[in-house]
């Protein structure tokens, strides 16, 4: 899912459409220092300022061409914002800026201990529908997953700041694993929600 292209200019829906210089990095776009720790207040403030200028609703009375451009530009700002807002996408973006593609990251080896933990968590999840107090167990599992993800975010920061890109990539892969498990856990929750 992270195979999309992360420089704004390359994601323009129509390359023949004239557009302003969107060749800055997402960090430059939002006036933020390049790094994993992002001041969410500044990010949000700058995001809202850009959308105040660019959102299609600002051109509600404008021409069709203005509307179309507004949809595109506003979409680009949203993409940049969404990338920087989420820790995992932000981490992967940093690696990409450092020259490590998503494929490079995916090739990173993961230690056996982590994989065993993953299997255990997965088994826990699979045994859930048979449990009496499954909602409480699920809630615990979700909290545990969220905590683990935070842990690997910490790992990423240490590795990235020490310019150890391989270790940073490995932390990203772990976050991806856990993120995927979180989605599956939510699916189980959703099934409970619907009373299956």
């Amino acid at each position: 899912m992270w195979r999309e292209l992360h420089r704004i200019s390359t994601a323009l829906p129509s390359p023949d459409m004239p557009y302003p210089d969107f060749s800055q990095t997402y960090f430059e776009l939002f006036d933020l220092p390049q790094g994993f720790t992002v001041d969410s207040t500044v990010l949000g403030e700058r995001y809202r300022q850009l959308q105040r200028e660019l959102h299609p609703d600002r051109f509600a009375g404008g021409t069709a061409q203005e509307q179309r451009l507004a949809v595109q530009y506003s979409g680009l700002v949203n993409q940049a914002y969404n990338t920087l807002k989420q820790p995992l996408s932000r981490a992967l973006y940093l690696l990409e800026l450092a020259g490590l593609s998503a494929e490079d990251v995916a090739r990173e080896q993961i230690d056996g201990g982590f994989l065993i933990e993953q299997m255990e968590l997965r088994e826990k999840l699979e045994s859930l529908p048979g449990l009496v107090d499954r909602e409480t167990v699920l809630e615990h599992l979700l909290t545990e997953l969220a905590g683990d993800i935070k842990l690997h975010q910490g790992e990423f920061v240490v590795a990235y700041e020490a310019a150890d890109l391989r270790a940073a990539a490995s932390a990203c892969v772990k976050m991806q694993y856990l993120g995927k498990l979180l989605v599956e856990a939510e699916q189980v929750e959703s099934d409970l929600l619907e009373g299956h």
């Binding site: 899912m1 999309e4 829906p13 299609p56 609703d57 509600a60 061409q65 979409g75 809630e139 009373g195």
Partner: protein, 628 residues
């Protein structure tokens, strides 16, 4: 005062050119229309002073469609002809909605394409047509009250509505002759009404439990910008389900067998009344003999009722927790909880929400009207009656959008809760040597398997040159506009072969179907149609002229040279001339030509706005700007 109006020169609304725009809450149980007059938004009552229009349509008499309370009275007598809660069927397929159809005691008309349509005395009626009849009634009410034609409407939909359900709603509006300015998510509309009313800043949760749908949205309010952080819910959970649980209990207690359609309708009405009484009193005793011959009266206390609906309420809480997680927030970080929808009057619902968020929910805006009022406020802005700088909505898509890949798996392209508008591109390749076509299957949902997701659209990309497997580079782009509607395009990058679709879900109506329905529609005689077309074309032309006038006044000198200005002026005169005539086609041609002529100017203006926005204004300066 948190919201300051910043109008650009030439863009301030002129007092004499106020446009009539309405907000419509098209609800499962009741629908409302609201508008902004003299700066205040209010719901419009009918001639009898009633604001709420029951979302009920009766088709017993082929010559006359009844909408509202009059139709509801006919429900016990003509259960199959009286369509209630049609919103539950919007954009859904036959298989998908089978259980709801059975429970509502409707007769389905035959159809090969899997689309739902109900058999009535007036022939088959689709949920879209029934919704259009409700919308038409509201449009006529507004036009009568305002003594003017409605130029545009913001129609609200549950945030958790999928593409098919949104498209069906838009189709219904088209059928009712209402130009749609925007489909707005119901909780977002409520947040607008609440936020503008209270001028509050911070994070709020909107808990919206209506007759048939449930939504939870978490928003950040900041200086007139309403940013939806996450949304979730269930499009098939609401007060109707509380009633159904109560009906099952009544049937079980009285030992009655499966009810007839007529009895079921009467029991539903009784259950609704018992439910409503239990919001105010601890215990209710009710007669059954009129409906079920020989059945003794029953007594139900509040605790007993709460046991019946407990699992339903629990489902809403699980959705709230997930929404909090998606927003990356803890329940304690929510500043206020706004309750929307009639079903939030049930005390158990209020208590459960209060416990989850650790605070008493707010009830100071009428939960029945708040959505329509917020929609009216947004409509007023979109039609250009207010300075545009003072309110901006940033909404999200409720469900992930993706593509089918090898093995029936889903590759998510746009994850749920992504802010819209958005464009995302992803590259794919061929899997067979010499493959010249690629089937693109667009799906919506959170599941990993295609079969578990909602199928939205399929199209083919042809003309890929034969290459070895994996050599072709096919870029698929998803673009979601501010209405939450999707456009997908695919291009083979080495040859430029292209294909695209605006996603029209299989359960919506095709464009020509709508046109033919409009044509045959009983309330639109052909001269009516022509007049409407002319009116719409004139509106388009006027909007373009006004927009250009304002733009020229602001930037014409700076961004255009003398020749360009003269040529634009000439084209504008042509349009003005046609505005005085009655020729729809000539007006359209002149308007379109002016539109094309103004594109360069528009592009330059946009470029400049963006350069300004990107010029690295510091936060201090932003603050200054807002204080002005």
């Amino acid at each position: 005062m948190a919201l300051l109006q910043i109008a650009e020169p030439g863009q301030s609304p002129l007092p004499h050119s106020v446009k009539r725009a309405v907000g419509i809450d098209l609800g499962t149980t009741n629908s409302l229309v609201a508008t902004v007059r003299g700066g205040r938004a209010a719901a419009l009552p009918d001639e009898g002073g009633e604001v709420m229009l029951p979302s009920v349509v009766n088709y017993s008499d082929p010559g006359q469609v009844l909408v509202g309370a009059a139709a509801r009275e006919l429900a016990p007598l003509h259960p199959a002809d009286t369509l209630m809660s049609v919103k539950r069927f919007m954009g859904r397929g036959r298989d998908d909605a089978a259980e709801d159809v059975r429970r509502a005691h409707y007769e389905l008309a035959g159809a090969e394409d899997g689309m739902i349509s109900f058999q009535t005395q007036s022939g088959p009626v689709s949920p879209v047509q029934a919704s259009a009849d409700i919308l038409r009634t509201l449009r006529e009410r507004a036009e009568k009250t305002l003594d003017a034609s409605v130029e545009g409407a913001v129609i609200t939909v549950p945030a958790y509505f999928d593409e098919a359900q949104r498209q069906a709603t838009k189709d219904a509006a088209t059928l009712a002759g209402l130009p749609v300015l925007r489909l707005l998510n119901e909780p977002t509309a409520a947040a607008v009404a609440y936020g503008l009313d209270s001028a509050e800043e911070g994070v709020i949760a909107v808990f919206d439990l209506g007759g048939g749908t449930f939504d939870i949205s978490i928003l950040r309010l900041h200086r007139g910008v309403f940013e939806v952080l996450a949304t979730g819910g269930d499009t098939a959970l609401g007060g109707d389900d509380f009633d159904a649980a109560l009906v099952s209990w009544i049937l079980q207690k009285s030992g009655a067998g499966a009810p007839t359609a007529s009895v079921a309708r009467q029991l539903s009405a009784l259950a609704r009344s018992v439910k409503e009484q239990l919001s105010d009193t601890q215990s209710v005793t009710f007669e059954l003999a009129d409906i079920l011959a020989g059945a003794p009266p029953l007594e139900l206390n509040r605790t007993g009722f709460e046991e019946l609906i407990q699992t339903l309420v629990k489902r809403t809480l699980l959705a709230c927790r997930r929404c909090l997680r998606d927003a990356g927030l803890d329940a304690t970080e929510i500043g206020n909880v706004v309750m929307v929808g009639g079903s939030t009057r049930v005390p158990l619902v209020r208590e459960a929400v209060a416990e989850l968020f650790g605070r008493e929910p707010l009830l100071n805006i009428d939960p029945d009207q708040v959505v329509a009022i917020g929609a009216a406020q947004q409509a007023d802005i979109l039609v250009g009656n207010r300075a545009e700088g003072d309110l901006l909505l940033l909404d999200v898509i409720p469900l992930s959008l993706g593509l089918e890949t090898m093995g029936g798996l889903v590759e998510k392209i746009v994850p749920r809760n992504t802010t819209i508008p958005v464009a995302r591109a992803q590259e794919f390749t061929t899997y067979k040597d010499g493959q010249t076509a690629l089937a693109v299957h667009v799906v919506q949902g959170e599941r990993e398997l295609v079969d578990d997701c909602r199928s939205l659209s399929r199209f083919e990309l042809r003309g890929i040159p034969p290459m070895v497997a994996g050599a072709a580079r096919i870029k698929v782009t998803f673009q979601v506009d501010a209405d939450g509607l999707l456009n997908v395009s695919a291009v083979e990058e080495t040859t430029g072969a292209q294909s695209s679709v605006t996603v029209k879900p299989s359960f919506g109506l095709a464009e020509d179907e709508i046109a033919s329905m409009l044509q045959s529609s009983y309330s639109h005689a052909s001269e009516d149609m022509l007049a409407r077309k002319l009116a719409e074309q004139r509106l388009d032309a006027q909007q373009l002229l006004e927009g250009l006038d304002a733009a020229l006044q602001a930037d014409g000198q700076q961004l255009l040279n003398d020749d360009e200005r003269a040529s634009l002026a000439q084209q504008m005169d042509l349009v003005r001339q046609q505005l005085r005539e009655e020729d729809v086609d000539a007006l359209r041609v002149a308007t379109e030509s002016l539109g094309r002529a103004s594109e360069t100017f528009a592009t330059r203006r946009m470029d400049r706005s963006i350069r300004q926005a990107l010029a690295g204004v510091s936060l201090d300066e932003l603050d200054e700007e807002d204080k002005e």
